[in-house]
Symmetry: D2
Subunit: 310 residues, 4 copies
């Protein structure tokens, strides 16, 4: 494929923009390959793992994840505690704002504002979340003492009334949401406070290992879209390995492979483990996921919609 | 400004995509601010410096740079020798291809292929460039012995017949092209070979300091769009400082500020030098320029075209 | 403090090297500040959280972490499942080897070699780990059905016979080891297999929230050395916030703050949350932790040993 | 080679530290390989190109570069204008200080302080430089009207009286210093001011292409230590390609290969060009050069000194 000169056209569509980007080279063409890979993944009928770190939910990608679940583009979700918390806050009406990367952080603290990159979360949002959790854990405990984390999250989703919510759409579409480090955040704090008074309350994380492993079979085609790294990415690729590994893989990250971290591990490295198959269609796109993912995914959705796949 | 949930819409336009991206947060919102900054820069009547490293010209951004000059979006260009060489190769009909980031490089070498990231350039393209330069230097020497580098490049542009060429459009629009390290590449080799036989042939780089400084006045509004780092970025911001510094600045780079390099230097750092004014509208976007620049610039062009500025 | 010229001296000591590095500027001087911060942290009597991602245990930092526990330089450990697994493999005599970052990964897979960056782990090491776990889970289950993850890891440590082992030294010194995503890896698989046959076996991750919170008091001075990011870093700073936040903080990472990820979050961002105190002595060092951490820590240890603190 | 556990030892030497680092893995072991490569490079009798960006000279590596020239560890230097300027300022007694990465830059500007990462340069230092240049250009012009840039820099070196100065040691040891973008900075400004009054004054950059090409032969063994990227790195590897390419190469950088930039280009990419030979001993170390270079080089010097090579 030749490098082709990018040219702007008045009133161009997002699809035309994406197509033009794919011919530029460097990460633009990798992003184009990622879009193609997602199209093939979906058309193959693969079960799709969508994994993301909590900061993606802090950002406006959150409503897009919900939309993707609604469109049938994600069959299994893996994320971290912060992602669950912030999806709920937003579903309860809380708004986050966009600020600066280098503000006076002491001043923010005094104003009750918590910073994530250039996004600000008010203390009140945590209070709203707390109120919801206190009420909800109690209700669920009455029904059952021991909960697999994903079953617990499914119940939370049923209680939310927001079509932009990941948990809401996941519950509606029976898409399991896994959170292998479910106690790592405010969620953990509320679970701990409740367990103090109700010792027989148990969050069963081991059970989730069974549920995620059974969510696909060895014979299923399997694909992954891993946004960022950490445990959300690793849990999906590790458990899928037990069913023969991924057939399609798109990794999008800012991390580099040079430090040996799971976050920066490439699709090549995954081949050495059998986490993705040798013949797997695999792409790694380096860059801020708030840009690379919506652009690539919008392009894939357009193509799939043209072929009436979605 | 609130974080807003990104939502895909069937058949959405590039402008709608950009607007939706701007509300996501992290680098997406910085990219949105960059687009706004470019719109304001242009509407203010600022003289616009567009600087880029040679790899951008290796990529398909090259034709976009030419288009921007044509549209009046760039008044002064600064780049490196490779950027000049590859613009000429492409203007002479050479095609580069998109390959892999981790091929067998020894094998490529044996096939006469030179790699830049995931873009491949054939040895033949250098031969075509050489033939052009040998012919051209001779002609220019006959007219004049001592050339400011930018005047020399202006003459090259006049000889090319490609509307997608940076040098062609720059010559046509009388936009000066500066190349402070003009000998750093094949171009340097050909100049050296010619000078061996014609000792009175001189490329005057000091003269270019005068020309770039005189290309704006203290009273002009001035803006910069710096893509990548290195001498192309530094030469523009250093020389503009002599005329009071930039009023608008957009830096797009993958480099980080943590090493103190000029490539990673932020718009904040530039304020300490007076390279950009304190009250300057300044944005730094971190990410691969092959993605961030066309997306932001397409958005800015759309807005400017709606207001009939371009 | 002035920048000072680095000069090599024949036979210089590591302490002299570190001192010379601290005067260079950029990340060298941040690394020097990190060493000073660690010295102050220890001398203040602070409880020290040491957190690291699993790849650090894959690397030769593993024996150093064990030594630090032995020296009393770490009071609370937080890591991920892979870190536990690989510490055990090494304690059982397995050797990892140093290879290449870009080998033929399909070939490695066929040879039964799993790659982490440039480090190779043989399948046999996982078999050795499996054999150990199968035996051990059974034994622990007989004693108790419900285990806090950290109590479970403490028992594993008692069974190992390797002074270079993190778990061994942690058990010996009563340093709790937390693993908020304990099922994310082979460890999770073995726990799952066992739970299949023994439904009343429970790993209680919520309990660990209580244990880590109680491992320090509001009145304790608290310090953190966070190597890499992810849940290990986040769990420590989040839970310490409940006791008033850190008084000393050293973050070492390759991640950048520009994406809003927890891994790249700086000590400044942590101030907005109250995760570290406003007046906290805080340093962020950007670079590969396999270099920055041992160099900074060796320097701190030398200083502490001179003052007979360790 | 096996991963080996790093262990601190009271009073350990820098050489012991380096040896221990080399067994850790990830970038530590690459840094160890870089040290070995430098030892082999020197022992082979190779002509050594040492290239660095100007921020390295801003930092305290500047005196180390001078020492390396003195020790015979660098035969050809390539750098940028800022590197020349700051070496001279320091040779004239100016001191730079270490500050913060995120200060109030507007305040710094008002105080007459210019920031490079976390290093501060006072306006006065530029005034001292200006005074020196004004005096010196005049003197050199009287002797000769047309100067190759490297010959001009050689004369500057002869006028400095500082053993820690790069230019001083280079002049003393007849090591040529190349600066392919010599006008990109204050140096360019002073040359321009002088040329305004003396039109026949010429800085001949094309001549330097000849001089650097003739500084080695096709038969010489050739090695490069490239610190950071940009034109300093590219000019050395491009011109050496004309003599058959490098036999040994060590690249140290924070840039990543993913954007296709020259700064991030790896030693593998260079093989596709013939810039370094296929069988070349080549290492790329990712990380802040203020840490990786002095640690690796100190280790190499120790080894060379033990074998009485230096």
């Amino acid at each position: 494929m030749h490098v082709s000169d990018f040219r702007w056209k008045r009133g161009m569509s997002a699809a035309e923009l994406s197509e033009a980007l794919a011919g530029i080279g460097f990460q633009s063409s990798e992003m184009g390959r990622a879009a193609d890979n997602i199209v093939k993944m979906k058309k193959s009928g693969a079960k799709i793992f969508l994994t993301f770190t909590s900061n993606m939910v802090t950002s406006g990608l959150r409503g897009f994840f919900a939309q993707l679940i609604e469109l049938g583009m994600a069959d299994i979700i893996v994320t971290t505690a912060g992602g669950i918390e912030e999806d709920i806050m937003k579903a309860l009406g809380e708004k986050f704002s966009i600020g600066k990367f280098h503000p006076d952080d002491t001043e923010l603290y005094e104003q009750g504002i918590n910073r994530v990159g250039n996004i600000y979360i008010r203390n009140e949002s945590y209070a709203v979340f707390e109120e919801f959790m206190n009420r909800t854990i109690e209700q669920l405990y009455i029904r059952q003492k021991r909960w697999a984390a994903s079953e617990f999250l499914n119940e939370l989703g049923k209680l939310l009334k927001d079509e932009h919510s990941i948990l809401y759409q996941a519950a509606k579409k029976s898409v399991p949401v896994f959170c292998p480090a479910i106690t790592d955040g405010a969620l953990g704090f509320h679970l701990f406070m409740f367990q103090q008074e109700h010792h027989d309350f148990v969050i069963d994380v081991v059970k989730d290992f069974e549920i995620i492993t059974n969510s696909t079979t060895h014979d299923d085609k399997k694909g992954i879209i891993a946004l960022g790294g950490g445990v959300s990415k690793h849990f999906a690729i590790f458990t899928s390995m037990l069913n023969g590994g991924m057939d399609y893989a798109v990794y999008m990250t800012t991390s580099s492979e040079t430090s040996g971290s799971a976050s920066g591990a490439t699709t090549d490295e995954a081949k050495s483990w059998g986490k993705i198959k040798d013949e797997c269609d695999a792409v790694t796109v380096i860059g801020d996921v708030t840009i690379t993912f919506p652009v690539a995914m919008a392009s894939a959705l357009e193509a799939l919609s043209k072929e009436a796949v979605i």
